[in-house]
């Protein structure tokens, strides 16, 4: 089994994901990251996923595509996706592609966690 590229924590009512690698570029890695997250979400009826980008220094358009695919799957289960701690240069990629309008992006993990809808 390959070494995990993520740190996945189950919090009260949500799942938090942190990246181990500082570069999220390689398609093989992206595929593994997507599978690890999908496995973590599998049992969730209405998944609430918080992805923290604190350690991430570089991303590619392929990583943006992976995030969109995850968002789509989560929303199909009436779940919610939050992103936090995105480096300002990477955030610029979201702005250029206008994906900042599609994702719920927060400065900190705390802000992201408190933005989940209350049930």
């Amino acid at each position: 089994m390959p070494v995990s590229l993520l740190q996945i924590r189950r919090l009260e009512g949500s799942i938090r994901v942190d990246f181990v690698e500082k570069n999220i570029l390689d398609e093989g890695n992206l595929h593994q990251i997507e599978q690890e997250i999908r496995t973590a979400l599998e049992a969730e009826k209405h998944p609430r996923l918080l992805i923290c980008f604190k350690n991430v220094e570089h991303m590619s358009s392929a990583a943006l595509g992976t995030l969109l695919a995850l968002k789509d799957s989560i929303e199909k289960k009436s779940g919610e996706l939050r992103l936090s701690n995105i480096d300002r240069r990477i955030y610029e990629m979201f702005v250029i592609t206008k994906l900042n309008r599609l994702f719920s992006i927060h400065d900190s993990v705390e802000q992201a966690a408190s933005s989940f809808s209350t049930k």
Partner: protein, 142 residues
């Protein structure tokens, strides 16, 4: 001063992407430091190289590791030039749907070319579209 010493040429031939692309990025990053490029330039160029080489391999060469992606570049104190050539049939870059249009926002692919245009000073596909030429001009200090 020897003018040839003031230009660093980096060339590679890729048949697969990894780990060759990481090694290229590492060498390029060292070249950028040597010629005084800042972190913003390093981020832009790393992204543009990643998108260009991955596109050439995945879309141009259809992921075929028997086909070659040629990478040629030069770094000087004021300008970086990069060429990426694949063995595919080429494509019409104008035919790529605008990923920022409302109806395309949630489509997972099609943002690589747009990001290269955003971060580089010049981006040009030479017909039939399997030859990419791009340049980055170091911003002058005000």
């Amino acid at each position: 001063m020897n003018a040839a010493k003031d230009i660093l040429h980096i060339e590679r031939r890729f048949y697969g992407l990894r780990p060759g692309l990481e090694e290229l990025q590492e060498e390029f990053a060292n070249g950028l430091l040597r010629f005084g490029y800042d972190e913003a330039a390093a981020f832009a160029i790393r992204l543009a190289i990643e998108e260009a080489v991955v596109n050439a391999h995945r879309h141009g060469n259809k992921g075929d590791e028997n086909r070659c992606v040629q990478f040629r570049s030069s770094i000087s104190a004021s300008r970086i030039e990069i060429e990426v050539i694949d063995e595919g049939a080429g494509f019409d870059p104008c035919a790529i749907p605008d990923p920022t249009r409302e109806e395309n926002l949630d489509v997972p692919s099609g943002r690589g070319v747009m990001l290269m245009h955003a971060y580089m000073s010049d981006v040009e596909y030479i017909a039939p579209g399997n030859h990419l030429r791009m340049a980055y001009c170091k911003p002058s200090r005000s």
